[in-house]
């Protein structure tokens, strides 16, 4: 992997170059509520620099909360179909955290392994991730428990780590390389360095291998009920999560014209599994919470070979009851 140095004072110039390239730039922005969200920005001034984690992940860049798949309109001699694939823009995500970047690897497997999803594939192809390693973490962060760390390069195209008055730049992919080449004069070559002293050290809550082994037999653990009691049954955790991929297809319009949309959904919402007959195979919140956690640590391992929790801690921060995923997991994998 190629490594370089970038002076902090040159970052605004690099950013300006990105904006001038005509790509859509998504970066962390502090809204009036004081919470930080990924939003489209038009200048470096808008970008929030001091944040531990954004409220929601950057998954919406490749898997929008509402995605128009196509629009149709009846005409005199047939049906007009408006394809939306061609309007997907080239996008750069700035300031994504390493945990979020690695989540892109998981959702890519989900959408692309079998029957590749054309919309996701196109968005993924046109998206470049410029990650910034975490100098700070909080009590909800637990990336080191799921085999990641605040300096992981997995999933990123470029990883920046602030070291004093410069950024240490790891150019991970060809896409990352083309961004660096476009502003080549700003970067100086440097040998590989240790980033450890500049990165946060979140506490490790569990050994992922041990959890992966124990959770295989956790389905009937009586602790699930207690761990799920506080769950209010909303979709906040799933919508904030970088790896939750549940969706719902909706047709809006009438028989003359309409739109087909793919919308975020959540396995924690009772309607998600409710049948037309009224029967609900996951009839209570205990079963729904268990599904969410078992999916992250067991089912996704069985289906795709990847643990689908990246330890970003968002579900803990946004949960109205502050349900704690790593405590839940530890408690349901204890001997019953």
């Amino acid at each position: 992997m190629e490594t370089k140095l970038l002076k902090s004072s040159d970052v605004p110039t690099l950013f300006d170059n990105l904006i001038k390239s005509g790509k859509v730039i998504i970066a962390p922005v502090t809204r009036q509520s004081g919470k930080v969200f990924f939003e489209r920005v038009y200048s470096y001034d808008q970008v929030e620099k001091d944040y531990i984690q954004t409220q929601f992940s950057a998954k919406s860049v490749v898997f929008p909360k509402v995605e128009e798949l196509f629009a149709f309109r009846k005409t005199d001699d047939g049906v007009d179909i408006k394809d939306t694939l061609s309007s997907i823009p080239e996008t750069v995500v700035w300031g994504i955290r390493p945990c979020d970047s690695s989540a892109f690897n998981y959702i890519s497997e989900f959408f692309l392994r079998e029957n590749p999803d054309a919309y996701f594939a196109k968005r993924k192809e046109l998206t470049t991730l410029i990650a910034i390693g975490c100098a700070k973490s909080d009590d909800a962060c637990f990336c080191t428990s799921v085999d990641l760390n605040p300096g992981s390069t997995a999933g990123s195209d470029i990883l920046l780590t602030q070291m004093g008055d410069s950024f240490y730049v790891e150019v991970v992919t060809e896409k990352g390389n083309s961004i660096v080449s476009e502003s080549a004069s700003l970067f100086t070559a440097t040998p590989e360095k240790s980033k450890d002293n500049y990165l946060a050290k979140p506490t490790t809550k569990f050994s992922v291998d041990e959890i992966a082994k124990k959770i295989k037999t956790a389905y009937n653990n009586t602790q699930w009920k207690h761990e799920s009691m506080g769950c209010y049954s909303c979709g906040a955790c799933a919508f904030a999560c970088p790896t939750c991929t549940c969706f719902d297809i909706q047709d809006e319009g009438n028989s003359e014209e309409g739109v087909r949309k793919r919308c975020w959904d959540a396995c924690g919402l009772s309607l998600f599994t409710k049948h037309n007959s009224g029967h609900n195979p996951r009839k209570n919140q205990t079963e729904r919470r268990r599904q969410r956690l078992m999916h992250k640590f067991k089912y996704s391992v069985e289906n795709l070979g990847i643990i689908s929790c990246v330890g970003c801690g968002r579900c803990i921060r946004v949960c109205p009851a502050h349900l704690n995923i790593f405590e839940n997991i530890l408690n349901v994998t204890k001997e019953d």
């Binding site: 509402v66 009590d139 506080g230 909303c234 799933a238 909706q250 502050h322 349900l323 704690n324």
Partner: protein, 267 residues
């Protein structure tokens, strides 16, 4: 704290309650709801002024209904919700034991609903200065400004329905947004549908909302959605003189008829 823990242990032991809903310490010392079923869990129970969650919402949970004999820690929001829910005939299937700690740090186990009503009479919470200020700010806006203010906020709503989930008064078994024959409100999250959702919810809560502010506090995108129902309550107070969550027997303003009601709106 010890007093509270001892009392709950005693109630569990005597069989007066089989489940206690209270608070425990979560991450960053933030209090979170907890569910105590045995003496071994008692030490988790805490109470301090940061225990703001409205625990009454859990009284609708099937797992709580199953426990039947339920103890609940009542901060003011929870107590008012319990009164409002009783007036709406929603808690008939529970044997409730309600505990609180008053401003002088005394433990109170309410012996009757009448004593809860009395307690609320003397501890009725007013809107916070911050809430009053925001409501005044919105009141002072022109119609167009107000429309834009809410439109901008609602455009960020992601329809996670956390506002509905944390609300003790949102107990419908099937919410309007879950009806799809016909589809009253779009499933997808976009400004007009989000506007419809929040307007519909505010209308359903008019005069029933007990101003706990939970929906605004927990909104993951930070929409002060509680202001809608808080404003509704101010209007209902003005027009009908009625307040929610103070009595277990009165119906709420929009569900009762009083010959003395003002009817100036009928033209």
């Amino acid at each position: 704290m010890e007093q509270l823990q001892n009392k709950v242990a005693e109630l569990l032991e005597k069989g007066t309650i089989s489940l206690m809903i209270g608070f425990q310490t979560g991450l960053c010392n933030d209090p979170v709801p907890c569910f105590i079923e045995s003496a071994s869990q008692i030490s988790q129970l805490i109470y301090n002024s940061h225990c703001k969650h409205n625990l009454a919402v859990y009284l609708h949970k099937p797992e709580v209904k199953q426990a039947k004999k339920v103890g609940i820690f009542g901060n003011i929001a929870t107590l008012r919700s319990i009164l409002q829910l009783l007036s709406e005939n929603q808690l008939w299937d529970l044997e409730l034991t309600i505990i609180t700690i008053n401003a002088s740090q005394e433990l109170i186990v309410f012996d009757s609903i009448a004593s809860v009503e009395q307690y609320i009479q003397t501890n009725f919470p007013e809107l916070t200065d911050e809430e009053k200020e925001l409501i005044e700010k919105i009141n002072a806006m022109s119609r167009q400004e107000r429309w834009t203010y809410w439109k901008d906020l609602f455009s960020t709503c992601i329809k996670c329905y956390a506002c509905r989930a944390v609300c003790p008064m949102c107990y419908c078994t099937q919410c309007t947004v879950e009806c799809n024959q016909p589809q009253w409100i779009k499933v997808s999250s976009e400004t007009s549908g989000n506007f419809e959702w929040h307007t519909m919810r505010a209308m359903h809560l008019a005069g029933r909302c007990i101003n706990c502010g939970e929906c605004g506090r927990i909104c993951p995108v930070g929409i002060p959605v509680h202001l809608l129902t808080a404003k509704m309550n101010l209007d209902i107070k003005k027009e009908f003189g009625a307040r929610s969550g103070i009595s277990s027997s009165n119906g709420y303003a929009l569900n009762t008829f009083n010959p003395n009601d003002k009817d100036g709106f009928i033209k």
